[in-house]
Structures are given as structure tokens and as C-alpha cells.
């Protein structure tokens, strides 16, 4: 809400500029920004039109003679259709400045001298929707006689300065000028003073016809009305109009404007109805019934439902309570008698209704966040007094009470020592009481104990913590010296799984892979394409877009997207990984389990063409090497098995392996299927994905240090011819099983199939390394093992040793 300094001055001395005030209020209470109106305006005066003649060379321009407080009237050519003789208007004189750098210059318009411009409000920077309707399409006409030549900018309130407060939901007490005055007053140690509204006793009459029936008792705590007879509906005086448009409220007529004015003044929404338009004189506050409609000013009608709290009369909805008045009992120029309402409606009900019907605004905003039930009656009195002062009514009814809740101050009990301890400062009781007084609260002190009485205008305050916030902010956070918690020592650190994850990611980083972070909410295709854990999909209840509809079941789709994005931008060689959660929802449950996964994708060259190297494109074994190194670093004594699979959709059936431990699949490595690659615009790409939770559960090796062997190793080479369908893994496993105690390593150095090799066979070459850590190995020992190995391979796999 924008707090006008011209208005605030009625309650408080204003001794600083808005920039200073906004800064101080931001630091002690509510985030605020300074606003200075009309800084781009000059040369604006009141003009009195004393003659209007049509322009001789135009069918829509007029020649106006305008008194502007100078010796002679000036001639101004005006094209507005609402210009008329006798009007008091805004004149931008020769040399005047208007918004957007516009400068008014005397000149000729179609051969006629024009000494300035007669202006509309929108031309002075007031948004058109806040300009009174009758002046939206033309010049603005002052509602009463003004002194020609007087400063129009000031009269229009366009010289005002304001503090725009960005009010948090708990500080709705400052959604009115009076509340704001308390806040700014506390900031500067000034108590605001307000005039108590009073009604001329002579006009007050007993109510004898209007009845109020509150049916929805749980949603209405206060409902007060007064009727007023014989009002004259006109436009409001200028001082009301200017305050409204500066509050971004469009002036309508004196009655509606007075109600809005009081809303701004007190923060309490006031409604006015044309009493004569009510079908009967009974007002009911109830839940809407079938067929109730809300008629809006633009002619649209909204169907109301049983969830909507409405004000009705004679079966007709007068308005959606706390949200929007219907146009059926609107106050118009021929209105004579009115009903003025001040009420408190349930915030949640108002909020939901406003949301449901898309009608949030000034009124609902205040009810949603709460209003001061201690000011319901006073704000009603003020509205009635204001209307009477503008339009001298015949009579005013007594207050008619539908329901009223006693407004009582809130008492917060606290201990001075406890308050100080929570703040971390040492205020003396006197200092603390002084701050409490500055806030306009009253306190009683008994030793360390204080009992603070909080007026109803601060309904947000209920507990000691609220009081602490008030005291410390007025004390000033800048005066608070920082300390560190001084309790017991604690041991900080990561959880074991997180330590483990850190280790895995550091291996992948060392392998040259860049870390990525992708979205966990993905589209249906993506989630189905790599559902390798065969889980039930988890879908958002109300997704915003199809792109982010499902919870991911694999990290791979995100990585593929990244590769496509990069390769489309000429970053061809990509090696990336992600560590994150995937979501595994078991049949019959709503809540998916969150599994920690790690996945990588490599595409393009692993070695670049350079002055001393030739490029190499990634292949299955590059990625397998990365995975093996990562698994090595898990320090697990488990045996990781790689077995070919053609069962993972969208992966190459001949270049994919499941990785398992004791038959339990923990992940996979594979090349993307060529069709999938072309569909997703990526070059040859290899991916892997591993369940980190399962890796973490594997038992860890207890490393027992051994000295480096002092005795040399002996190498034997083994070349075999074997059927194509036998995997090297099988061969190596068998070699180890038969290699005896001293076989320490088997390295494959050759894989060949092609010419010179019988079709259906391949040639494999291995280095077999033997070593005895404690003695020199003899050739005999090695030869014995070597023979065993060969014999076994021959008998099991029918190999031919070459």
C-alpha cells in the first residue's frame, strides 16, 4: 500500500523525505520504496473557460478562451469532445512539461493560435482506469470552482510523495492509513493522533424497517449497518478524488468514493447499497443457494455456489461477501436512500471465493489477511459522517447490529529475562517498556514479569515471540551484535551415503566427465523410454505443462537431452554425468521411493585430433573403463559381472551389458539404439546408469596391507582359437579358476577375427602373469599351472591352443 505523506501529515509530524522514511521503515518494519509523483510535471495551472467557439477549419476542434490567472485570457485549441464553456480545467501552459519528456509549446493549429493545452488526467500520468469514467475520454473538469492560475499539480495531488509498503501477510494492520501511521510513528517515536468520528445527534433516528439475519454465523463475526436517507449522489469533492486515484482507485460518485476512502483510512472495507433497490428490507448473510448470481458492472454474471458466502435480500444476491458487490443494488445518480455496511468476514472463506471467481482486489485482500474487529463500528460511523459531510443527508439510522464480537485487547505475558535471552541483548526493564510504549502498547511490570496489552489493531500479535519481534525491530537490528551459539560441541559431517556419493562423483570428475543437473519432472515419453527399473510411473496431480508431468525413473533421458542440446550447438564431444534421485513407486502405494542413482553419457571423441595425436571416437570399452574405475573406488569386495543383454529398450542389443552382483542387477552400460539416436538428434552415445543405494549396501573390503613383492613375476602368453559365442569373460574366469595360487593377473592383448581365422571363431591372446610374493617362482611351477589352464580351456570350451 502506498502511504501518502500529505495524508499522513494529518496524523503525524512528517519530518523526513520519503527516501529516508522508506529506508528506515524497511529496516524496522516493512519493506518500503519511496515514490515521488509528478516529478516530470510542470507548468500546470487551473484554467477557467470563458468562451468556446468552433475552430473555423475543423469539425472537431474548438477555440477556447481560458483565464489562467494572467492579465488576459489565452486562446487554446482543444479537441476534447467534453469541453464546454464555464468549466474549470487543467491547463498546461506554454513551456509546460508532461510525462515522457513532452513539452507544450505555443503554436498555431490549423491557422489558429493555441497557447498551451487543456489536459486530461491520463495525460498527466494517472492511469486511465483510475480516471473518473466521464473524464476517461476527454479533459478533466474540476468538480468545483477553483482559482484560475492556481497550481493544478498540487490541487490534483500529483505533487504528493509516498512510501510504498510491500506488506507481508502478518502486517495487514498497515493496509490502512491509520495502521500505517502507527507503524511509521513507532519508527520515529511519534504517537499518531486521530479525530474520533462523530455523527450529528439531531439526524439520528431509530431504525424501524431494516432487519438483518445472519445465517452463516461461523463465517461472520461482525456485521453492522446504518441507513441514510435523502442523499444527493454527485461527484466527490476534489480532495477525496485525488486521494483515491493516488491509491489506484477510480472515483465513481460521492457515496462509493466515501466508502473507499474510509477503507483506505481504516483498512476496513465499507460497502454501500441503494436501499430502495432491495426487494425487501431484510438483509441475510448466508451461503449462496442454487440460482444465486453475482452481477458484475460489465454485465457479466457469475454463478455462485454453496461454498460462497453472500449478502442477500429477497432472494437476490447483493454481493459476494468480502469480495465483490453485485450491480443490482448499486448506488447511482438517482439513488436517494442508502445502506452502509461494515463487517468482518472469515478470511479463508473470502480468499477461496475470491480465487474461485478470480475477483481478488482491495476488499478481499483486506478480509483475507484480517481486519481490526475493534474498528468495525468506528469505521462505519466515519463512513456515515463523511457521506453526511459531503451530501448533507436528512437522517441517519442508529447502528443496526447483525452480529458483533466483543473487541478486547490481547494480553501477552512474558519475562524480561527470557525476552532478552532470545534477542541476545540486555535491555533494561525501562528500555524495554519504553519501546513497548512507543509501539502504542501498554505494559504492566512486576519484577521480571511483564504483561503487555495489545490493542485490537494489532490482531497479528498473540504470543511472546510476536512481542520479541516488535521489541527487537524497534530496538534496531543494526544494534544487535552477532555471536555464535555457545552450547555443547557437536560433530558435523555428511551422512555415510553422502560421503559415498561424494567419492563416486569425484571418480567421474577425474575421468573427465562434467557434472550436470537435470529436471526431475519430465515428459511421458522420457519417463517411459528408460524405465529400466520397471516401476509404476508417478504423475503430478495438476502438471503445468506436458514437459514436466512425470517424476523421472532414470537419469538417462536428462543426459540425452543435454547431449542433444550441446551437439546442436557444435559441442560434439561430450562426457557428462549426473547424480540424483529417481522415483520408484511400488504397486498400491502413492509415495514413490527415492533412489540415489548415478548415470553418465559419452558421445563423440574421447581423444581429439591434435598435432601429436589422432582422434578416437568413444566406444563401449571407454565407458566400461570409467564404470570399472568407479566401482573399484567403492572399495567393495563384491564381484561385478557384466553380462550381455538385448532386453533394455532403446539400447543397442549387441552393445549393452547388465552389471550385476551375485545375480542382482545394479545397473547397465550400453550404446543408444541407432533409431533412438536419430530420433533424438544425438551422435553415437554410450550411457551407463547405476543404483547408488545398492552399491552402498555392498560390503566393504577390509584392506590388510602387504609389502610390495620382492620377487620377479613370470609372464606366459596364451593364444587360443575359440568359438565366437564364448565371451572373454568366461575364458578369463576359467583361467583364474585353474591358474593356481601364483596367477595374479590376466591381460587380454589381442582379439582377432577375420581372414586366416575359420569363420565362427575368434583368436584371443592373453598375458598370464604369475608371481610368488615370498619366493622365486620356478619355471616348473608356472608350467604346471599353465598346463592346467590350457587343459581346462580345451575341455570346457573346446579351444585350440595356438
Amino acid at each position: 500500500m502506498k502511504i501518502s505523506m500529505n495524508w499522513l501529515k494529518e496524523y503525524l509530524p512528517v519530518e523526513h523525505n520519503v527516501e529516508e522514511i522508506a529506508n528506515k521503515v524497511s529496516l524496522t518494519g516493512i519493506e518500503s520504496a519511496p515514490v515521488e509523483l509528478g516529478t516530470d510535471l510542470s507548468g500546470l495551472v487551473v484554467g477557467h473557460i470563458i468562451d468556446v467557439k468552433p475552430h473555423p477549419d475543423s469539425d472537431h476542434l474548438n477555440l477556447c478562451q481560458v483565464e489562467i490567472g494572467e492579465k488576459e485570457p489565452v486562446q487554446i485549441v482543444c479537441g476534447a469532445s467534453n469541453v464546454a464553456n464555464g468549466q474549470y480545467v487543467i491547463v498546461a501552459k506554454n513551456g509546460a512539461n508532461l510525462p515522457a519528456g513532452k513539452v507544450i509549446k505555443s503554436g498555431e493549429i490549423r491557422g489558429q493560435l493555441s497557447n498551451g493545452m487543456i489536459c486530461g488526467l491520463d495525460e498527466l500520468g494517472v492511469k486511465e482506469k483510475f480516471v473518473p469514467k466521464e473524464f476517461q475520454k476527454g479533459i478533466y473538469v474540476f468538480p468545483a470552482e477553483e482559482q484560475p492560475g492556481a497550481d493544478a499539480k498540487e490541487l490534483l495531488g500529483l505533487n504528493d510523495t509516498m512510501v510504498d509498503m510491500d506488506i507481508t501477510p502478518n502486517r495487514a494492520d498497515t493496509l490502512g492509513m491509520r495502521g500505517a501511521a502507527w507503524e511509521i510513528g513507532a519508527t520515529y517515536d511519534h504517537k499518531p493522533s486521530f479525530t474520533k468520528p462523530e455523527i450529528a445527534e439531531s439526524k439520528v433516528v431509530k431504525n424501524n424497517d431494516v432487519k438483518i439475519n445472519i445465517k452463516a454465523k461461523d463465517l461472520v463475526t461482525d456485521y453492522l449497518v446504518r441507513t441514510m436517507s435523502n442523499v444527493t449522489v454527485t461527484e466527490s469533492p476534489l480532495w477525496i478524488q485525488r486521494r483515491l486515484w493516488n491509491q489506484d482507485i477510480q472515483p465513481v460518485n460521492n457515496i462509493v468514493d466515501a466508502a473507499n476512502y474510509v477503507m483506505i483510512e481504516f483498512g476496513e472495507p465499507i460497502q454501500v447499497y441503494d436501499l430502495d433497490k432491495l426487494t425487501d428490507k431484510e438483509i441475510t448473510v448466508e451461503m449462496a443457494a442454487e440460482g444465486h448470481k453475482l452481477e458484475l458492472n460489465d454485465g457479466n454474471k457469475k454463478d455462485l455456489s454453496h461454498d460462497d458466502l453472500v449478502i442477500t435480500s429477497g432472494g437476490q444476491a447483493l454481493g459476494l461477501a468480502g469480495v465483490q458487490k453485485s450491480s443490482v443494488a448499486e448506488v447511482t445518480s438517482d439513488t436517494k436512500n442508502i445502506l452502509v455496511e461494515s463487517a468482518v468476514f472469515d478470511g479463508t472463506s473470502v480468499r477461496k471465493a475470491a480465487q474461485r471467481h478470480d475477483l481478488r482486489g482491495n476488499v478481499s485482500n483486506r478480509f483475507e489477511k484480517g481486519v481490526d474487529n475493534g474498528a468495525v463500528s468506528e469505521s462505519l460511523t466515519r463512513a456515515v459522517q463523511l457521506i453526511d459531510s459531503i451530501t448533507n443527508v436528512e437522517s441517519i439510522s442508529q447502528e443496526i447490529v447483525g452480529v458483533q464480537t466483543k473487541a478486547e485487547p490481547i494480553i501477552i505475558d512474558g519475562k524480561i529475562s527470557h525476552i532478552n535471552s532470545l534477542m541476545g541483548i540486555e535491555l533494561s526493564p525501562e528500555e524495554m517498556l519504553k519501546i513497548i510504549d512507543r509501539l502504542g502498547f501498554t505494559a504492566e511490570r512486576n519484577g521480571d514479569e511483564i504483561s503487555v496489552s495489545i490493542p485490537t489493531r494489532r490482531w497479528d500479535m498473540t504470543i511472546e515471540a510476536d512481542l520479541i519481534e516488535e521489541i527487537i525491530r524497534i530496538f534496531g537490528y543494526d544494534n544487535l551484535k552477532g555471536t555464535l551459539p555457545s552450547g555443547h560441541e557437536t560433530r558435523g559431517g555428511y551422512t555415510p551415503i553422502r560421503e559415498f556419493i561424494n567419492k563416486l562423483t569425484s571418480v567421474l570428475l577425474s575421468e573427465g566427465m562434467d557434472e550436470t543437473i537435470n529436471f526431475a519432472l519430465i515428459n511421458k515419453h522420457e519417463v517411459e523410454d528408460f524405465n529400466t527399473i520397471h516401476t509404476n510411473l508417478t504423475r503430478l496431480l495438476h502438471p503445468m505443462t506436458e514437459d514436466h508431468e512425470y517424476l523421472r525413473t532414470s537419469l538417462v533421458p536428462g543426459l540425452i537431452k543435454d547431449i542433444a542440446y550441446n551437439q546442436a550447438r557444435g559441442n560434439d564431444n561430450i562426457s557428462i554425468f549426473e547424480q540424483g534421485r529417481i522415483f520408484d513407486r511400488k504397486e498400491g502405494t502413492d509415495r514413490p521411493e527415492e533412489l540415489e542413482y548415478i548415470a553418465g553419457a559419452v558421445s563423440g571423441n574421447v581423444l581429439e585430433d591434435s598435432w601429436n595425436t589422432t582422434s578416437k571416437t568413444v566406444d563401449f570399452y571407454d565407458v566400461k573403463g570409467i564404470v570399472e574405475e568407479m566401482l573399484m573406488f567403492t572399495n567393495s569386495d563384491a564381484e561385478f559381472e557384466y553380462s550381455a543383454t538385448d532386453q533394455i529398450p532403446n539400447l543397442h542389443p549387441g552393445q549393452t551389458a547388465n552389471i550385476s552382483v551375485d545375480g542382482d542387477v545394479i545397473g547397465y552400460i550400453g550404446k543408444l539404439h541407432p533409431n533412438y539416436q536419430s530420433d533424438h538428434n544425438v551422435a553415437d552415445t554410450y550411457v551407463f546408469e547405476i543404483n547408488v543405494d545398492k552399491l552402498f549396501e555392498l560390503s566393504r573390503k577390509q584392506v590388510q596391507a602387504k609389502s610390495a613383492p620382492k620377487y620377479p613375476s613370470i609372464t606366459r602368453d596364451l593364444a587360443i582359437l575359440v568359438g565366437k559365442n564364448i565371451s572373454s569373460g568366461q575364458i578369463v574366469k576359467d583361467i583364474f579358476e585353474n591358474g593356481g595360487d601364483y596367477l595374479i593377473d590376466v591381460n587380454i592383448f589381442d582379439v582377432y577375427q577375420g581372414s586366416n581365422i575359420e569363420s565362427g571363431f575368434k583368436s584371443l591372446g592373453y598375458h598370464l602373469i604369475f608371481q610368488n610374493a615370498n619366493d622365486t617362482l620356478t619355471d616348473e611351477t608356472v608350467e604346471k599351472s599353465f598346463t592346467n589352464i590350457k587343459n581346462s580351456l580345451v575341455s570346457k570350451f573346446n579351444v585350440e591352443v595356438r
Binding site: 519493506e31 541476545g424 575421468e511
Partner: protein, 348 residues
Amino acid sequence: MSLNDKLKKLRESGIDDAKRAEHLQELNDLRVNLLGKKGPITQALRGMKDVPKEERPEIGTLANNVKKEIQEAIEARMNDLNKRMVEQKLQEETVDVTLPAQSHELGTKHILNQTVEDIEQFFIGLGYEVAPGYEVEEDHYNFERLNIPKDHPARDMQDTFYLTNELLMRTQTSAQEGRDMEAHDFSKGPLKMISPGVVYRRDDDDATHSHQFHQLEGLVVDKNISMADLKGTLEALCRHVFGAEREIRFRPSFFPFTEPSVEVDVSCFNCGGKGCRICKYTGWIEVLGAGLTHPNVLEMSGIDHTVYSAFAFGLGPERFAMLKYGVTDIRDFYTNDVRFLEQFKGVN
């Protein structure tokens, strides 16, 4: 020619040959030829029998000296030749050090994770545990336990992706507070934790909004925790992250789960507080929200608020990284263009 002269002549020619040798082989040959058993010096000494007896010692000495001198000349030349060979080898092996290296690039940790880890390390040093939370969370922990009952206006501040009426994508890492408080054994000392992670909100993705982003929550529960402790802790954090010269300031704010609540500004690390484009000419940059944990939140976790007090804070790693490195579009963190990712190699 006398034996004496013969020896002197041999010396002269031997030394001369050694000095002129260009190859090690020549020197080896020279040694064998000149100094060997069949060499001229040995031969010459055979003529000793013809030398008068009294001159023999002198000749013997001369012969030994000649041998020695020739030997020395050969060795000296050998050293020269060896040295020359090494020099030549070094010459041949000289490389152009300005040619590009054989690259062994390490990968780059994502800048958001670098940012988070930097903050984690800071707090681990202060004795905080790093507690991961759930990305799919119950309404109960995400809202109700944080003093945000159903229909609370504060729920408007963060639009939520629901999975069911009771399950949602967490909108804040504060959701972890309730879980950690109820799991903590206070007889073993205070609770000091941070909880980093991914959160989700119903936002359209644009330069400043992302429907997925990161948060890091901090919570300390102990006897006598105060606003001053919160300020001191955040002061130290901001100095760690943004530089030792930084000051912080608190501004009152509102969060349903803290009271008092504050927003925290850090003095601008770009201009030092004088005012610049980054701090919008205010000298201060808003970096996080914090406060003393609301008594209701403590009580809902079974903690007696008259005995214990707590502070909590929440910060956005995206915001930290954007400020610190001048990232202007939050989407850059999630499109994973490697040119973007790799510029942050080793920054933290």
C-alpha cells in the same frame, strides 16, 4: 734414434692422435694399439737391454710417464666426446614448449553443487550435520509442521505441485526441520543441521524463475539460542562466501515458521556498499531469509519452547551463484551447455 727419443716421439704422436680423435672407437683403438702388450711402447721397452744399466731407471720412469700421459690424453678426449654427445642429444630432444599440451582434462563439478559444497564445508566446520531430505514430501512436513495449516494465506506464496492431496513435491527444504527435530536425541546435545536439496514450485521457467531449484536450510536447536547467534552465524557465512570485508543487516520479514523473521542483506561485494548496478544502488543485496523458530513449530516436534529455542535460515544456491558469478539466466544451470559448465572449473 735413441730409446729416449723414441719414447718421446711416441708420446707426442699418441697425445696428438688422442686429441684429434672424433669417435670413442678411435680412442679405444688408440689405447689398444699404443698402450697394449703388442703396442710400440712395450715394443720399445724391449730395447732396454741395449741401454746402459745406469740409464735404465730413467728410461723406465720416462716410459711409465709416457704411458700415463697418453692414457690421460685419451681419457680427457673421451670426456670431451661424451660431453659433446650429451649436448648434441639434448639439442636434438629440445621441444617447442609453446605447443599445446596433451590434455588430460578433469570434469567440472556443477557450479550449483560447488556452491552448495562450499557452504556445507563451512557449516561442517561449525559442527553442523548435513541432512538430506525427501523430494517427495508429505503436506504435513512441508506445510503443517511449519505452522502453515491448510488454507493459510502463506500457501499462496508458493504454489505447489501435488501428487495426491497429502503428497507433494517439496516446496522448501524447511520441510526437513520437523523430521530432524523429532529424530534428534536432545540428551546428546544440541541439534545443528543443514539440509541442502532440490525444491519445486509451480513457476513458469524464465530468466529468474525455475520450477525446480535448490535450497539449503539451516537449523540450530539448543537452550539459549538467540537472534544474536543467528546474526553471528550468518555474518560468518556471508563473509565466507562473499568475502571477509562483508557486513550483513537484518530487515524484519514474515515467514510462518519463524518469529521474529528477518530477511538478510549482505553489503555489496561488487562496490563494497557504495552503490552499483548489482546492488541496484542500495549498497546491499538480499541473500537469504531467517528467524527464530516459531514456538508452535518447536512444540509440534515435541520440543518444549520454554526450555529450548532455535534459529533457522534458508538460502538459495542459485541466487548465491548468480550473484557471485554474474549468471543472469537461471535456466543456464539446467540446460547443461558444457561451455557454461566448464567455465566454473575449480572456482570453489
